[in-house]
C-alpha cells in the first residue's frame, strides 16, 4: 500500500522502491509536558507492510508517541521521518502530512452529526479531492466487506461500540494511508466487542497495511505483530519478534510488566 497516486503531495521523491522500504523512522524523539518527561529519546523504524505493536504500562509514553507521529503533539527534540520526508520540519505542510497517516482513537471520535458513509468519506472528498460519487462507492464497498453494509446511512449513535470502531477504522484507511496508527483502539470497548475489531486489524495486517498499534491486548500482539516494542518510562526498552518478547524477555522491567498483564 505504498501509495503514490493520490495522497502524498509532500513527498515527491521517495515512493519508488517496491520492496521493504522504511515507512517511518523516529530518531531520538523527545517530548515533555512541563517537568514531566514523557518521551526520553525514542528511536524506531517501521518498514512497509510491517505490523508493529507497542506495549507498556499506562504512562509509559505509548499514546504520546502516537500523537507526535500524527503531529498532534510537537516534539522537543529529534526527528520523525515519514516516507523519506522529515515531517517535524516546521516548513512541512502539516495538513498534507496528516492526510498521509490514518489514525484510529480509543474513543472512536466519529462525527456524530454525519452519517456513517459521510464520516468514512469525509477526508477522501475534502482532503484528497475524490469525486463524491467515487468516494461513496468506495466507502460502501469497504463497509459492505466488513459487514456494515446496512449501516451506511445510519448515524453513529445507532451503532454498537465495536461497529463504531470498525467504521472509524474504515474512515482511517479509505484513502490508503502510508501508515496506520491505532491507539488503544479496543480499550473503550465491551469485552464482547473486542474480537470483531481485532479481526479487522488482523485482516488489514494480512493485506499489507503498515501498522503501528498501541494496545493492552497481549494475545493479539503475540498473534499478529511482526515486531513487539516494549516501552518503559519514555524509552523503548526492548523490541523483537513476539516470540522473543513474550517468550524470553531480556529486561527485568519487561518481565515484570508481562507478569502483571498476563495474569489478569
Amino acid at each position: 500500500m505504498s501509495d503514490s497516486s493520490s495522497s502524498s503531495p509532500a513527498s515527491p521523491a521517495s515512493s519508488a522502491s517496491p520492496e521493504r522500504s522504511t515507512v517511518l523512522a523516529l530518531e531520538g524523539v523527545r517530548k515533555s509536558f512541563g517537568d514531566n518527561l514523557v518521551l526520553r529519546g525514542v528511536d524506531l523504524e517501521i518498514a512497509s507492510h510491517e505490523v508493529v505493536v507497542v506495549i507498556g504500562a499506562s504512562g509509559s509514553g505509548k499514546s504520546t508517541l502516537m500523537r507526535t507521529i500524527n503531529l498532534i503533539e510537537q516534539i522537543d527534540d529529534g526527528r520523525i521521518v515519514l516516507g523519506g520526508d522529515d515531517i517535524t520540519d516546521p516548513r512541512v505542510d502539516v495538513d498534507a502530512t496528516r492526510a498521509r497517516i490514518g489514525v484510529v482513537f480509543q474513543h472512536f471520535n466519529l462525527f456524530p452529526h454525519m452519517k456513517v458513509i459521510d464520516n468514512v468519506t469525509l477526508a477522501a472528498r475534502r482532503v484528497h479531492g475524490m469525486p463524491a460519487a467515487d468516494a461513496r462507492a468506495r466507502g460502501e464497498e469497504m463497509l459492505e466487506r466488513i459487514g456494515l453494509g446496512e449501516k451506511v446511512d445510519d448515524y453513529p449513535d445507532r451503532l454498537s461500540g465495536g461497529q463504531q470502531q470498525r467504521v472509524a477504522i474504515v474512515r482511517a484507511i479509505l484513502t490508503d494511508p502510508e501508515l496506520l496508527l491505532l491507539d488503544e483502539i479496543t480499550s473503550a470497548l465491551d469485552p464482547m466487542l473486542v474480537g470483531e475489531v481485532l479481526d479487522l486489524v488482523r485482516s488489514l495486517g494480512d493485506s499489507g497495511s503498515t501498522i503501528l498499534m498501541a494496545t493492552h491486548e497481549m494475545s493479539f500482539a503475540r498473534d499478529v505483530a511482526d515486531r513487539v516494542v516494549f516501552m518503559h518510562q519514555g524509552r523503548i526498552l526492548e523490541q523483537g519478534t513476539p516470540e522473543e518478547i513474550f517468550g524470553s524477555p531480556r529486561e527485568e522491567a519487561t518481565r515484570e510488566f508481562l507478569a502483571r498483564v498476563m495474569h489478569r
Partner: protein
C-alpha cells in the same frame, strides 16, 4: 429492529412504552399499576382544570369590579377603535416583518463571524480576537434603545452615507445588538464540542477552517438551537423598537392612531399582533427544546 448484520447489537432497548408485544399478557401486578397510574393522572388533570378555572374567575371578577374598570375598558378595549386601527397597525407590522427578515440574516452572518473570531487561537489572531471581545462586551452591555439612537441619528449625521429610511438604520442597530448575543451563544456551543472531535478532523488532514466549518460549527449549532430560537423570539418583538427612529412600523402606526383618537386600544391591537407573530415560533421552540432534552436523557424518567 433489523438484526441482519453480523454482530448486530443485542438487547437494544425497545422504545419505552411501546406496545405490540404479541406473546405476552401483562400480569395482574402490572395491570394494577396501570390502573393506579391512570386514576392518578385523571385526578391531576381534574385538579389542574378546576384550579385554572377558579383562578381565571377570581382575576376576572377582581378586574371587572375594580373602581376604574369602565374607564380602562373604554380606553384600552374599545372594539370600534380597535377595528378601525387594525389595517394601519397591520401595515406597520409588515415593515417589522421585513426588518426582522433582514436582521435575522445580518445576525446570522455577523454573529457567526464574531464567534469564529473569538475562538481563533494563537498570538497572530490577537487583534481579531480582541476586536470581537470588545464588540461583544460593548453591545451586550449597551441598552438597545441607546444603540438605536446612536446608529439611527448619529451615523446619518456623518453625511457619508446616502439618505436611507429610518427603518434601515433601525434594522442595522438591532442587528448589531443581537449579533453580540448570538455570537456568545454560538461560541458557547462551539466550545461545548469535545476537543477530540477537532483532533479527529485534523488527523484526517482537514485544515483548521474546514474543521470549524464541517465538524465544530455544525455540532456546536445543534447544541445551542434552543437558546438561539429564544433569541429569535426576542428579536421578533424588539424589531418594534425601530419605531423610535420614526419608522412607521406597527407600534408607530398604533401611536399615530392613539394620538388621533385619544384612545389606547391601537396599542393593544399592536400587542396582539406581535403576540400572534411570535406565538408559532415560541411553540416551536418549546417543542424543539423538549425533544432535544428527551433525546439527551433517553432511558430515564427523572
Amino acid at each position: 429492529m433489523t438484526d441482519g448484520a453480523p454482530g448486530a447489537t443485542h438487547g437494544a432497548p425497545g422504545m419505552p412504552g411501546a406496545s405490540g408485544h404479541h406473546d405476552w399478557e401483562p400480569s395482574d401486578l402490572e395491570l394494577d399499576r396501570r390502573r393506579y397510574r391512570k386514576r392518578a393522572s385523571a385526578r391531576s388533570v381534574l385538579i389542574a382544570a378546576v384550579s385554572t378555572l377558579v383562578f381565571t374567575a377570581v382575576v376576572w371578577v377582581a378586574l371587572v369590579n375594580s373602581p376604574g374598570w369602565d374607564a380602562v375598558k373604554e380606553s384600552f378595549f374599545n372594539l370600534e377603535i380597535g377595528r378601525d386601527s387594525f389595517p394601519d397597525v397591520l401595515e406597520g407590522l409588515w415593515l417589522n416583518i421585513r426588518a426582522l427578515f433582514f436582521a435575522v440574516i445580518g445576525v446570522a452572518v455577523l454573529g457567526t463571524l464574531l464567534a469564529v473570531m473569538r475562538s481563533l487561537r494563537g498570538p497572530v489572531w490577537f487583534p481579531l480576537r480582541a476586536i470581537a471581545t470588545i464588540y461583544t462586551d460593548m453591545f451586550r452591555g449597551m441598552p438597545v434603545l441607546i444603540v438605536l439612537y446612536l446608529v439611527g441619528f448619529g451615523i446619518p449625521a456623518l453625511d457619508i452615507f446616502p439618505r436611507l429610511p429610518a427603518a434601515v438604520w433601525g434594522t442595522i442597530a438591532i442587528t448589531l445588538c443581537y449579533s453580540a448575543y448570538v455570537a456568545e451563544v454560538l461560541r458557547a456551543g462551539m466550545e461545548a464540542v469535545h476537543p477530540s472531535q477537532r483532533v479527529a478532523a485534523r488527523s484526517l488532514g482537514l485544515s483548521h477552517g474546514e474543521t470549524l466549518r464541517l465538524v465544530v460549527i455544525p455540532q456546536g449549532l445543534r447544541k445551542v438551537v434552543p437558546p438561539l430560537m429564544n433569541d429569535f423570539v426576542s428579536m421578533q418583538k424588539d424589531v418594534g423598537l425601530i419605531s423610535i427612529l420614526g419608522a412607521v412600523d406597527a407600534i408607530r402606526a398604533a401611536q399615530i392612531d392613539v394620538a388621533a383618537t385619544y384612545n389606547f386600544t391601537p396599542y393593544v391591537v399592536a400587542a396582539l399582533l406581535f403576540i400572534a407573530l411570535s406565538l408559532p415560533f415560541i411553540r416551536l421552540t418549546d417543542y424543539v427544546s423538549k425533544r432535544m432534552a428527551q433525546r439527551e436523557q433517553m432511558g430515564g424518567t427523572v
